[in-house]
């Protein structure tokens, strides 16, 4: 399933790039990542990781707190960008 893959890649990047201490199992798709310790610095690292992984580039209008606030929010942002590419 494409959806599951996307979800697990995002979760891996959250762990590797954003270095959020919560383990993948503890993190619900709708959990606020900032409440789990994401900072503006780690969110930038996560964005760079996502851009690299999916070959997309976030336009400035998408560089908001909301877009990177949860696994769900990131998933829908990536989908939107991928749709624009195709």
């Amino acid at each position: 399933m494409v959806q599951t893959d996307l979800n697990s890649i995002i979760r891996r990047l959250i762990k590797e790039q954003a270095k959020i201490p919560a383990t993948a199992g503890e993190l619900a798709d709708s959990d606020d990542l900032y409440d789990h310790g994401m900072t503006s610095h780690s969110s930038v690292m996560l964005m760079l990781g996502l851009e690299n992984e999916f070959g997309v580039e976030f336009p400035d209008t998408m560089l908001t707190r909301d877009v990177f606030s949860s696994v769900n929010a990131i998933e829908s942002a990536i989908r939107r960008l991928q749709q624009e590419l195709t």
Partner: protein, 396 residues
């Protein structure tokens, strides 16, 4: 005549006899406050008599409800006379703004705002903490329930600096939401003097900004759980604390620089009067300084206008990386501009400016302005922006 438009309340305050008197009191005591490194009690008392500490509280909570634009202008006017009074006024208003804009229908805080307006309570803040390296968005100390107390909470925080901490009525403190929360999962807690024990841990004997009296404290407090703001501090910080701080501080620094400029201009005029028919050589330096001041004023005004527009039209924009970069740039640019202006004024005034106690003395301005680059160190802000610019394309 049809309906007459009432004057904006900010202008009423700025021109009210009590506020004008407070400005005069601030100017008269500025040198002594600086020399003695003491709290500007006369100016603060006079500002309380002008009801200035409740001016940003909305009218529905018994305040004057002045606009942010006016608040910034009032800050500038006070700081022109006494930098310490201006900075204390600014810091207090940052705390008021943090409550006003993030009330979230919390009755306790609505009632508290009425008390701020009615009693002219002075609010200090404890955001810095020993062990977090100056990071506003990280806390170690946490809100903890008091067992068996039925709704009381407690905390203990080691703050390396609390401006006017020994003179405030109340304290707004950043803390982790609970003892298991991440360092960045913070809330604000408002406590009254009588609910706290504050142990002073250091002295405030500094180069400048001596009257802000900002030593370190260990704060222990017990209060009702209602005194914890529900809104996450991450939101309050992005939408209010950071922009309010950088804009109001910039107005303080602009006030310091403006007074230094005026002293330099007075010096040149006095020289010109002594030798009519020729322009004093240092007048060229004054002209350079005037150019610098125009730029300084322009970017402070532009940043203020941008914040007001975004807050009204699209507050979500305040949490974007682009806005974070721009408001950080204001802080860096304004803090550097203030110190440059004070040095420029010193070059114009020469030894008369270097000497204390002349009408052209700018030593106090220079020392005060040097604090600007250090309160949240500019290098720290540059390193934040350096990271943000990895993804943000700065074109605005």
């Amino acid at each position: 005549m049809t309906v007459s438009t009432p004057l904006p309340t900010g202008y009423l305050l700025a021109s009210s006899p009590n506020f004008l008197r407070a400005l005069k009191v601030a100017a008269e005591n500025a040198d002594d406050v600086d020399r003695a490194g003491r709290f500007p009690s006369e100016a603060i008392q006079a500002l309380k008599e002008a009801a200035a500490f409740g001016c940003y509280v909305p009218a529905e909570y018994d305040g004057m409800g002045v606009s942010f634009q006016h608040l910034a202008e009032l800050t500038f006017e006070i700081a022109r006379r006494c930098s310490a009074s201006g900075m204390i006024f600014a810091m207090h208003q940052i705390q008021v703004g943090s409550i006003v804009h993030h009330l979230n229908a919390q009755t306790w805080f609505e009632n508290y705002l009425r008390r701020v307006a009615g009693e002219q309570r002075l609010i200090a803040s404890a955001t810095s903490e020993v062990g977090v390296g100056g990071d506003l968005r990280r806390s170690i100390a946490a809100v903890e329930p008091v067992d068996g107390s039925g709704g009381l909470v407690r905390f203990e925080k080691q703050a390396p600096t609390i401006s006017y901490g020994g003179h405030a009525d109340d304290l707004l403190t950043t803390l982790r939401r609970h003892s298991e929360a991440e360092g960045s999962d913070q809330v604000l807690v408002l406590t009254h003097k009588e609910q706290m024990e504050m142990k002073q841990t250091s002295q405030w004997d500094t180069l400048g900004m001596r009257g802000t009296c900002s030593p370190g404290f260990v704060v222990q407090a017990t209060c009702s759980a209602e005194q914890v703001m529900r809104v996450p501090f991450s939101t309050t910080a992005a939408e209010t604390v950071v922009p309010f701080s950088h804009i109001l501080w910039s107005h303080v620094w602009l006030g310091i620089a403006t007074d230094a400029f005026e002293r330099a201009q007075n010096f040149i005029r006095a020289q010109a009067r002594q030798s009519p028919g020729s322009t004093p050589p240092a007048a060229l330096r004054l002209s350079e300084l005037s150019t610098h001041m125009s730029q300084f004023r322009a970017f402070v005004k532009a940043a203020t206008a941008e914040y007001i527009t975004l807050r009204e039209d699209d507050p979500k924009q305040l949490s974007t990386i682009g806005y974070a970069v721009r408001i950080n740039n204001l802080k860096i640019a304004a803090s550097e501009a203030a110190a440059e202006a004070a040095q420029g004024a010193l070059r114009v005034c020469g030894i008369a400016g270097y000497r204390n106690g002349t009408p052209y003395s700018v030593g106090r301005h220079l020392r005060d302005s040097l604090s600007a680059g250090l309160m949240i160190a500019n290098d720290r802000i540059h390193s934040t922006n350096a990271t943000l610019l990895l993804v943000y394309r700065d074109s605005k």
